[in-house]
């Protein structure tokens, strides 16, 4: 009798723990899968503002995308193309002007805190150390060129960056994720044009 009770207790315990585990499984991430990684960057650069509101083309800054393996993090000089002139949000500038009006004086230059970091970096000739988000293991070689030139939208892999205040890894970048897209697009084509993406191992592994 006692032993039967024991067995029942065991069984119940087991099922219970299984249920618990199952609920955990939904949030489960395999090691190496950094989907959702959203680190803080040295400068709070907003893609929502630049790519979203201001509609700056991705490749204006990430100019490597169509001619190199890496899209590349833009050098500070690219930022300076605009921020030589734009030193702070419009609101802040207006406020300063009005204040100047009131106080009957020439408006002082306003520099936003974040941009200050950029200018400092250039003054100190100290490269800005951005935190890398999309990173593949060493044995997987991804090349932007063929994808960008074939007309794959940046968002297809990077997600709606233009709506992200801080960039987040949208896809899990797993092998299956790559392979399935390669398989499907050879049927569906990319941007209306037929493509023949290879699923040879040596396309990415060498």
């Amino acid at each position: 009798m006692r032993s039967r009770i024991l067995t029942i207790v065991l069984a119940v315990g087991l099922t219970f723990s299984l249920v618990l585990l199952a609920s955990r499984l939904t949030a489960f991430h395999l090691p190496g899968n950094h989907q959702g990684y959203e680190p803080v960057q040295p400068i709070a650069y907003s893609h929502r503002l630049h790519a979203g509101e201001l509609q700056i083309q991705c490749q204006y800054c990430h100019f490597g995308a169509d001619k190199s393996r890496h899209a590349g993090v833009p050098p500070a000089s690219v930022c300076m193309n605009c921020h030589k002139f734009v030193t702070a949000p419009l609101g802040a500038l207006r406020a300063e002007d009005e204040l100047a009006e009131k106080e009957k004086r020439a408006p002082r230059p306003v520099v936003s805190a974040e941009l200050r970091k950029l200018y400092d970096a250039i003054d100190r000739a100290q490269p800005i150390a951005w935190t890398r988000i999309h990173s593949l293991p060493d044995f997987a070689y991804f090349d932007h060129r063929p994808h960008v030139n074939a007309g794959v939208a940046c968002q297809q892999c990077h997600g709606p960056v233009e709506s992200m205040e801080r960039v987040r890894q949208a896809s899990d970048l797993s092998m299956g994720w790559c392979v399935n897209c390669h398989r499907d697009s050879s049927r569906t084509g990319v941007a209306g044009r037929p493509v023949s993406p290879s699923i040879n191992c040596s396309t990415c592994h060498f």
Partner: protein, 987 residues
Amino acid sequence: METQYWRSLAERENPSELARAAEAEFSENPLQQIEPGSSRRGFLKAAGFAFAGAALTGCSRAPVEKAMPYLVQPENTVAGRAQYYASTCGACPAGCGLLAKVRDGRPIKLEGNPDQAISGGATCAVGQASILGLYDSLRLKQPLAGGKPSTWAEVDREILARLRADGAVRYLSGTITSPTKQAAIDRFLGQFRNARHVMYDALSASAILDAHQQTHGARVLPHYRFDKAGAIASFDADFLGTWISPVEFARDYSARRRPPEMSWHAQFEGRMSLTGSKADRRVRTAPDEIRERLAQLAIRIAKLSGADDRFLSSASARGWQTTNDDGLPHVAERLWEARGRSLVVCGANAVHTQVLVNYINHLLGNYGATLDVEHPSRQRQGDDRALANLLDEIKTGRVAALFIDGVNPVAELPEAPGFDHVGLVVSFAGSLDESAERAHYVCPDHHFLESWAGAEPVAGLISLTQPVIRPLGATRAVVETLAAWTGQPVNAYDLLRQRYPAQWDRAVEAGYVAMEAPRAPVKPFSMAPVELALAATSPEPAAGYTLALYPSVAMLEGRQAYNPWLHELPDPITKVTWDNYASVSPAAATSLGVSDGDVVRIEAGAAVELPVVVQPGQHDRVIAVALGYGRKASERFANLGPRWIDHRPSVNDQGRVGENAAPLLAFEQGSLRYDRAGIRIAKTGRRIELALTQTHHTLTVPQQLGGEVRPIVQETTTAELGKPPEPSEQREELWPEDHPYKGHRWGMAVDLNACTGCSACVVACQVENNTPVVGKDEVRRRREMHWIRIDRYYSGPSENVEVAHQPMMCQQCDHAPCETVCPTLATVHSDEGLNQQIYNRCVGTRYCANNCPYKTRRFNWFNYPREDRLANLVLNPDVTVRTRGVMEKCTFCVQRIQEAKIEAKVLGTPVKDGDIRTACEQACPAGAIVFGDLNDPNSRVARLARDARQYRVLEDLNVGPAVRYLKIVRDGGQAGRPVPQGDKKNG
């Protein structure tokens, strides 16, 4: 990949500005940050920038990765995109043109410059490996004063203070082919009343120059034109391996060896050299017999020419009668038939001998045809006589100041000069070698990839050296140093640019410029020295053991002793790594009672103890020893390779690799002699286990096990080539053809007739594919990692042995046995016919390697140490660095295939034949390796696949290798050698 030959427009206009921009990038001295254990940030900054770091150090598993863009990105640089800069190789005076591949600010690979005449797109093993010197962590990072680190300002002040205008100033250097540098030296020495510039070559050709001084009245080194030579007789000149300008010679030579019209080549030599291994007729000749042989040849040819009975009469007067041994008559005939386009070369560094050579070439009318003395070579300018005098001065304390530039007299010369009586010794050595150690001051020069320079290897060809990376240390170009001491400081760039203002742009872009050079002041041939030479030659045969000291293909004179790649490169003939040795003929071995690995003591004045290697084809009286070993630089290898309970070091008891044989050299009649007659050799009783990469040397299996000959290497004759090929029988295919190769189908063809075995491909592959160096002990265990190896097989009797070189890499089989057996799908076939190896999927069962009939797969037995983070900068970021426990192998340089395909896709053009060149193909001077698309009927490889000489190794296994081999053509009957029977090698 589109190549850019100039650094950048900005650079061309105003280099200093870019330098300043770069200055901003590297605020601190990069080297200080690359010391092991420094932060990843510092490392990345030094590396250039961006993502390359991940691939380099395998840190991608690190939680946080930094991506550091430029502040101001230089023009034409895009992260992750390689650029090619034209430059010139500084590894030896030959001056091959280079294209340096620079990736994210780091030079990672050197390729030959196809347009430059010396290189013609090829390189040698040493050239390929020399890039590692740039990342040598033992290079000096600042000048030394009295062995202590110092600053340039200080060093300059002190040296200038110690220089007396009246003291005897001597500038000792190797051959200097750079006019600018020569000028700088002259300007510097000009300040002193008693100053002399002494040049010497550790591998001296002084006698050739002296001989031409005597016969042609000008001290010149002829520019040898093997591309014009239809018949070649070489006396101990290893022109395919190490002699003067091997890349150029090998290229030209094999250009004339394409069947059916093949040049004819006879080699007279004592040891078995690379060149000898390719000869149609090889005559074993001891060094001390060479002059006599040459005299014989001279007499015969004089007879044939009918001219010049004065010589003949004096010959007969001296009791010379022509003997019929050694096929000399045949050689004479062949040379005479080809007069005007024949060539006789001789490596012996003895004036009389060289005079006879000149005479023969003169009789054959080769001057102006195959020997160009009017636009001579400048690749060897050393003067042994001057050197001897200088050494004498040094000994007797008549030298006030000695400047040592680019040479290492302490290690290279028979007796190390004592500097005690020299007031001031300054070395320009980049690292602390034996001579620099004893110098009062060391003013380290740049690595050649860091400096502006110009070379003139051959009169009229200016080859430019441009920096491809900012100096990694606080080093200074010699020209700048000298200029500083001359009082008018100037930077090398301006110096160079001022010299060639007109051709500058073109020169920087193409890497070289051809200029009108003044004809050398050559006088008509004078007979007198010839008779002296004949007088000095005795017809009597020599006796006793003779020592032949030679440069090995990897080490040359020893400047490469720091280079692990070259130490691990198997000697092309003996297949020994990590050692030098005394090679003896089988007969000599029996009479000495020694076998491979027995240590013998060789005495000739000095003495060295070396392991024996029994070498078929070697002269029975000759003991051959390689120079350039036992150097201080090799002490760094004490802890090389994986460390585990049963691990033995790569260095010997003296803590060095091999023994330095230089003490056995000698001065004779004012010239450095590399052969010593009448030496003593004795067994010591010790044994050394040599590190061989091949232990069975023939295609014949041992007699008691059947003794059959395997058709791995196949041969044919010019005669057979004429016949139409017999149709190969059709095989019944077991499986349905499920795998048609629709697009590309990559394949390779290897011409065994062209391959000289020079091993440039081996190192090129190692550099391109991040192949680890495993060290002597692991090689001993037969675990070397080279993806391409060159199998060397002997056949025939040991005194007249035939040699075959067979490059062997993964054959990329269609029905790959390795693929079927891999349980994890880690090696599978691509739809372009590639046998792919996916490292990250491999669990390392080694089943594939066992099942590979060609044994071309390599297993990572350990995590091979990559602790030197500076040396790691040479790693190719496009190739995964393999971890312990995974299988690896030749991939046909798939990273290059991918790059080319992607570029083609971007440009919307198809991949053209020749767009993709594997590292081995690109390096090969003989053009023996061809890679391409077998599906494109007009591709070079497809055409070779239809060639009459084409065969595939182990074709009967029906594994369908994608590599075709072209049979060796043994120039049968004509070479006066028995025609190899059809079945001789075909089992």
